[in-house]
Subunit: 381 residues, 2 copies
């Protein structure tokens, strides 16, 4: 096991009706900015619950943070926040709204242009922020990371805030009205979050392996029910909790990670607008296929423990495990090949060029360069 520090101070407030407690979680003297996406919170009742809970508070509203939140939009919120001297930013929505909020909170106490924070990769200062989540999948509600896009250059990068959400309220009922394609993308995102922290060298931490497998087993079990039964509270609770615990550091203690699929996926979204979770369903099986030698032992463990796969040879088991992974994504209704999206060599070359130009090196052993990325993308065709 590698040395590590685990420190996650977010207060997770989980369950039916918990949005009503919002007032008690925010000090009376805070000047609040409520940050929203496109308006679905007005249909599902979340907006009303938030407003009722904060009825006597000093709060302004900012609307319009889009999926894959764009710096162009966030700059407007930052300017407004500085003008209004906001000191608590409350995201009300899904992972994109919260990711945008993380940059707004950091940008509000930063003198330069907030895109500089994204390019640097971290914010060493930030105002306080918190969230009321509707769709959880990104795990943003209990970590310090965010992914921000820049429309004018089709770029998309992650950065880390110095602060975690002060609190995040998750009421599984808020997911009832989410369209099934977004739920499917969410399931894909959660599953791959776990894989990117798990599918590395063998034998680093028995317990982290078990916990990662536990989330994957849970997601595999509940996926059909999540997609079929909108108002099944039990299943939606398992879904929301799995999403949060998949990316809050609890399965990352003392182990290496390999975020290759996410890094390629971000480029694919930036260049094509394919939804984030959907890109992962295309890329992950190909990543596993290309890296099957270096990840062999872990794939065998994954095959046995997550999918209960048997076989006459290691080769057969590995092939079956990769096939099972692709089948799982297809069972969500997701495409798993680039051609199904009409993505061809042109986009592949653009992505590979970006990795080449940036000299990006990925993988838990630092051996995945642009040439390997190209192999992975060609295997997605």
């Amino acid at each position: 096991m590698q040395n590590f520090v685990y420190h996650n101070p977010t207060r997770l407030v989980f369950g039916k009706g918990e949005i009503a407690k919002l007032g008690a979680l925010i000090e009376k003297d805070r000047k609040i900015m409520l940050i929203f996406g496109g308006g679905s919170v007005k249909q599902n009742g979340v907006y009303e619950q938030v407003k009722a809970a904060l009825k006597d508070r000093d709060a302004i509203e900012f609307w319009g943070v889009e999926p894959n939140p764009k710096i162009e939009t966030l700059r407007k919120a930052i300017a407004l926040a500085k003008e209004q001297k906001i000191d608590l930013f409350l995201a009300v929505g899904g992972g994109s709204v919260l990711d945008g909020t993380k940059l707004i909170a950091a940008g509000a106490v930063y003198e330069g242009d907030a895109w500089e924070i994204v390019l640097k990769g971290y914010a060493d200062r930030s105002a306080d922020y918190a969230s009321v989540m509707t769709l959880s999948a990104t795990g943003s509600e209990m970590n310090a990371g965010a992914v921000i896009s820049r429309g004018e250059t089709d770029e998309k990068f992650a950065f880390f805030s110095v602060k975690y959400p002060v609190f995040s309220i998750l009421d599984p009922q808020t997911t009832y009205s989410i369209p099934s394609d977004q739920l499917a993308n969410g399931l894909s995102d959660i599953f791959v979050h776990v894989l990117e922290q798990y599918m590395t060298s063998m034998g680093q931490s028995r317990l982290m392996d078990r916990w990662a497998e536990g989330i994957m087993q849970t997601i595999a079990e509940i996926a059909p029910k999540v997609l079929d039964n909108a108002n099944d509270y039990k299943t939606r609770s398992d879904y929301m909790l799995s999403a949060t615990l998949a990316l809050n550091g609890m399965i990352a203690m003392g182990v290496t990670q390999d975020w290759t699929t996410h890094m390629i996926g971000h480029e694919l979204t930036a260049l094509t607008d394919i939804a984030h979770g959907a890109t992962l369903a295309v890329i992950y099986p190909a990543t596993l296929s290309v890296l099957r030698e270096s990840k062999k032992d872990k794939i065998l463990q994954y095959a046995d423990r997550v999918w209960r796969i048997n076989g006459e040879s290691q080769n057969e088991i590995i092939c079956k495990a990769i096939a099972a992974t692709e089948s799982f994504f297809r069972s969500l209704g997701l495409k798993t090949r680039l051609f199904e999206y009409g993505v061809g060599e042109g986009i592949i070359d653009k992505i590979v060029n970006r990795f080449e130009e940036r000299k990006t090196i990925l993988g838990e052993n630092g051996d995945i360069d642009a040439a390997v990325v190209k192999k992975i993308l060609l295997a997605c065709k």
Copy 2:
């Protein structure tokens, strides 16, 4: 899933050589009390590492917190802390030293006698405290609970502090010199911590079930290596991490709990001085046996997932699961029957009388009273 709040702000600093970072974790202006047990930290080098890391700091020492820390000892530390205006209490040792430190930190800012805090069950104020752990097993390094004894009345009660440890440093190398009987008690304690959060009604949280099972599988796998190989860093890392994650709230989200075995065990320790982990090995199989009907479905899941038990009938599987649990404790070298400790009806009656007098009701469904406790104790004979 039940509604819940998860909030654990402790900074967990884990790995080889991490004690050297102690200085960076404590603000320069703190007035520190170092709190120790009987002196084993002088043999294993931990004392020297701590002193070296804090060489230019304002720190006094308090020695002599015993296993099952006694209020009579802790009162002395509290008096000294008040006199010296201590504002950070650093436990250096195992779970007992840290439990004692939690009461010292609370008592230092409490006007009355600290035993009142224990009887009340919680401290609503506390000074800051932190830990450098040697033996971890109690999970105290990442929670707010503590168990305190009173020598003059043979009483032992748990209380909860309003504060969590600011940080806890865990270097698995510090466990190398721990005697094997203490390691065995620790393994038993960890395993039963998990069971008391797991063995309740079925179907509350798929993920919490998986994570609890993951800790139990890990402990079952590593137990022989923990006991046989003192200097096996990998195994000791798994051991230490499992201990911490077994009782820091991470497997308790949204699920009911049943601490019957611990509550009976505390009385047994208070009246006989049998070590805490050792009492659990005696009581847990009997608890399972007496409650086999109400916990039937969960025992079947536990049998399948933790022990891979098959059988022709549910009854057979449950019998085998209870036997496997008792065998596991015996494999640690622990006794599993009261007669092996020479404990007879006299002690059993005393314990049952205490539950009767206090009108204690236990169990996730609130149906375990003194009469059921008696059945459990008789089943331990």
